[in-house]
């Protein structure tokens, strides 16, 4: 016995995360009649979804009449370099227009076309203008709409600033979770019949990232520890345009909307270098291509003074820039003292999004563990080897809804599961593990270890990787894992809002994600999408049908290659067909 007491809270569906996916799942599950409890690490409405700027991709053909779900599907598959779960990509392309229109009926306010329809802007690797948007703060609009919908819905409760530490099963199904309140360290044992992971990404394991402190990969780590399979963990997206200067703001996102609205990339010699990398699509090529292009320019000595590329939108009128990209204008003016209506921005790739994550069933978001579901960035499959801009917000809506409905149905099918017997020894062990760093506050600082993980990943799993670099990175991560298991809190033993203690536990999640990324990266012996290798620079067509699946075994982490079934003919045709190029003059 550890002596630490806990409160027990019971619900039908427990949702981890209150970003777009979690809130959409909550609304869906409650509409299906389930009692829903949403648990989030921050305050409600602060989740990473607010950072989404450019828009939500949906083939509503409001701007380009030629658009259809088939083209959106084909763009998503081609962008993902064909290792996407094609069934997810099909569902996503078909259902996202409906999900966007539904948001509008819940009060969201999008920019309009001259006919009064929802306006859609062009974006990288989308054949047609497809992103419904609100200036450059689409994510905020989405989360605020869902937040209001959820809090005014009967049956939805939200626990803010609570971190889930471990999941428990009963009779082989997920049945609960141990969590702590960040404010006072008090413990909660959640009991549930089904659980939806909607906890976002893993970007915090890198030093230069657009992600916040929250993106420590908790969801993938909790799922992995509970026995669920992870997939495509080697696929980590570098967004081509993060701020590079001043040092204090390095990594902060510069929306792809800048390029969508006509922004051009130049190297220090003034050359529009994308010509040499993707002559057809130029700046609006897919993110993996643009990110590597900037990286190559810098390595070739053609970078800007602070090691990036110039992103220039000064040829547009100041009023246009301020109305279409208001938060970018503000961000550069305030943080870098740069007026983007008069001067170019300096940008370089920044870690942005995890395409890999929990392996889920396409229709329901079910993981390989009964009762455990996942939606949004924590899940995998839709984006394959590279995510297109705008596809994450539509992902949240489409699969958040589906996961919420499936979890509610599962809870209904097994009433009383939330009261099933948990293994009390397991619960006690989890509490002991959670409290352990507090008993040795002066041991190694978790902040120091976190910085070391970021250093290792930055050096050993960069934008272009190789076997020897990843191998030595893996050894360092494993060695660091042993130190993290013994780490302290940075000096304080208090339970009251103690970020040092919280960080000590974040390390565990980050290390699992780092190990999975490197191990999967070593297995994929080719370059594809976000996974570029200098020792295997070519794409291997044989590997297009392969996904790498990670699982916890008694012998440690195992990575297996798995073959996907081929696409049915009508989908394969949609990918191979060539679509008319979009020219604004013909349409507008």
């Amino acid at each position: 016995m550890t002596g630490a007491s806990y409160e027990t809270v019971e619900t039908d569906v427990l949702i981890l995360g209150a970003g777009g996916a979690g809130l959409r799942a909550a609304v869906a599950a409650a509409e299906a009649g389930a009692r829903v409890l949403v648990v989030c690490k921050s305050l409600l409405g602060k989740a990473h979804t607010v950072m989404a700027e450019g828009g939500v991709a949906a083939a509503m053909h409001n701007v380009a009449y030629q658009d259809s779900w088939e083209v959106h599907f084909a763009d998503t598959m081609k962008g993902g370099k064909l290792i996407n779960d094609w069934q997810m990509a099909e569902i996503h392309a078909k259902e996202s227009p409906e999900r966007v229109l539904e948001l509008e009926r819940w009060g969201a306010v999008f920019d309009r076309t001259w006919q009064g329809r929802i306006h859609q802007r062009p974006f990288g690797a989308h054949t047609y203008p497809r992103l419904a948007h609100v200036g450059d703060r689409t994510g905020l609009e989405l989360i605020r709409t869902l937040q209001d919908r959820a809090v005014h819905q009967d049956g939805v409760e939200v626990h803010m600033e609570v971190t889930v530490f471990r999941l428990f099963k009963a009779e082989g199904r997920i049945a609960g979770a141990l969590a702590y309140r960040r404010a006072d360290g008090s413990l909660i044992l959640y009991r549930c019949s089904a659980l939806v992971l909607a906890s976002g990404g893993t970007g915090k394991m890198y030093r230069v990232t657009s992600n916040s402190w929250e993106s420590t990969g908790d969801g993938t780590a909790l799922a992995y520890d509970a026995g669920a399979q992870l997939r495509d963990m080697e696929m980590m997206q570098f967004h081509p345009t993060g701020m590079v200067w001043p040092a204090g703001v390095r990594g902060i996102l510069v929306t792809e909307g800048v390029r969508g609205e006509g922004g051009v990339l130049r190297n220090k010699e003034g050359e529009r270098f994308m010509e040499r990398y993707d002559r057809d699509r130029m700046e609006l090529s897919s993110r993996d291509v643009v990110a590597r292009a900037i990286n190559s320019e810098v390595l070739a000595g053609r970078g800007t003074p602070h090691g990036g590329a110039f992103l220039d939108i000064t040829h547009r009128k100041p009023d246009f820039i301020k109305s279409k990209l208001p938060s970018m204008y503000e961000q550069f003016l305030k943080l870098a003292n740069v007026d983007i209506t008069k001067q170019p921005m300096e940008v370089a790739p920044t870690i942005h999004y995890a395409m890999g994550g929990v392996r889920v069933d396409a229709e329901t978001g079910a993981s390989t563990v009964p009762g455990l579901y996942a939606a949004g960035e924590v899940a995998s499959g839709l984006h394959g080897a590279n995510r297109l801009g705008g596809n994450s917000l539509s992902d949240l809506l489409v699969f958040g809804k589906r996961a919420g409905e499936a979890a509610a149905a599962a809870a209904k099918a097994s009433p009383g599961h939330a009261a099933a017997n948990l293994d009390q020894a397991e619960v006690e062990q989890a509490i002991a593990d959670l409290m352990a760093p507090l008993a040795r506050p002066a041991a190694e600082s978790p902040y120091q270890l976190q910085a070391e993980i970021q250093e290792i990943m930055t050096i050993h799993a960069p934008i272009v990787r190789d076997a020897s670099g990843m191998q030595s990175g893996l050894e360092k991560i494993l060695e660091l894992g042993m130190r993290a298991a013994r780490c302290g809190t940075g000096g304080s033993g208090t339970l009251a809002f103690n970020p040092g203690w919280h960080t000590a536990h974040d390390l565990h999640s980050m290390l699992i994600n780092a190990e999975a990324l490197i191990r999967s990266g070593l297995e994929r012996k080719e370059s594809r999408g976000a996974h570029a290798r200098s020792d295997f620079p070519k794409t291997d067509d044989e590997l297009a049908a392969i996904n790498y699946v990670v699982e916890k075994t008694p012998a440690g982490m195992q990575v297996e290659a798995e073959r996907r079934p081929p696409m049915p003919d009508y989908l394969a045709d949609a990918v191979q067909r060539s679509y008319a190029r979009y020219t604004p003059e013909e349409t507008e």
Binding site: V109, G116, R137, K334, L335, G490, F497
Partner: protein, 255 residues
């Protein structure tokens, strides 16, 4: 801007029982914002320093604090604006949890009390996508820029100095109500709410909220004053009151 190598940073440390400013010496990097300095202290000198933050790009509204007594977002405040010395404290209008973290849960309760977006039955059941003009939606877009940093609530003297949280919902929620009332598709009448529970009469338009808004929302001019006018028209205009008695128009009121 002056080049400085070290920052003399005082951070309020304490909890509901009390606390004090503690001074830290922080090495300065180019372009550093106050949040960077606070997080440096957390990682290197005070591991249990409590602070909220998320996006670090002025989009989430988590890192609200009072910098030299002025309500600001820490992620948006360059330390170069100060002469090598500054202090950071928690928002004073809300109860302190610990250090820079305050209990803002009251705001979430208030939000629940405001009836949500309510379109007409006809719009709700229509199978056609809605049509709205850009100029009609732009008005509410200003209000929907709100990132809920609660700095306007912090600076509002009704809430801060007089602690009338039961009587006035505060500038944030006047903006929220304005975003609903002026939405082209919303048909609910929230004037009874404005006059009653929302307590709009408590605002005496000193515009302090507008001054601290990091999203530059014209809270007083564009949200509160038009809402006050709507309410006055409804309740205090003698001519309209007479006309209403002679048979006025019906508007949907909350149940």
């Amino acid at each position: 801007m002056t080049e400085i190598s070290n920052l003399d940073l005082s951070i309020w440390r304490g909890d509901a029982k009390g606390g004090e400013l503690v001074s830290y010496r922080v090495p300065v990097r180019e372009g550093m914002v106050v949040l960077d300095a606070v997080l440096w202290v957390q990682a290197n000198m005070a591991s249990d320093l409590a602070v909220r933050w998320n996006c670090k790009a002025a989009k989430c509204g988590s890192c609200s604090a009072e910098i030299d007594g002025f309500p600001r977002l820490m992620c948006k405040t360059p330390i170069a604006d100060y002469g090598g010395k500054l202090s950071v404290g928690p928002m004073k209008a809300f109860p302190v949890v610990k250090d820079l973290v305050t209990d803002v849960s009251w705001n979430y309760q208030v939000n629940k009390e405001i009836p949500p977006f309510t379109p007409s039955d006809k719009d709700l059941t229509s199978s056609e996508p809605w049509r709205m003009q850009q100029q009609d939606v732009e008005r509410v877009m200003e209000f929907r820029k709100c990132i809920e940093c609660f700095l306007c609530q912090d600076v509002c003297h009704v809430l801060r100095a007089h602690d009338l949280k039961g009587a006035f919902q505060g500038p944030r929620f006047m903006v929220r109500i304005a975003s609903l009332e002026m939405h082209p598709k919303d048909v609910l009448d929230r004037r009874p709410l404005l006059k009653g529970k929302a307590g709009i009469g408590y605002c005496n338009v000193t515009k302090c909220c507008t001054e601290v808004c990091p999203e530059h929302i014209h809270i007083t001019d564009n949200a509160i004053i038009p809402l006050k006018e709507r309410m006055d028209d409804e309740y205090f205009d003698p001519v309209r009151s007479l006309l209403r008695r002679l048979g006025g128009k019906a508007r949907k009121t909350p149940a």
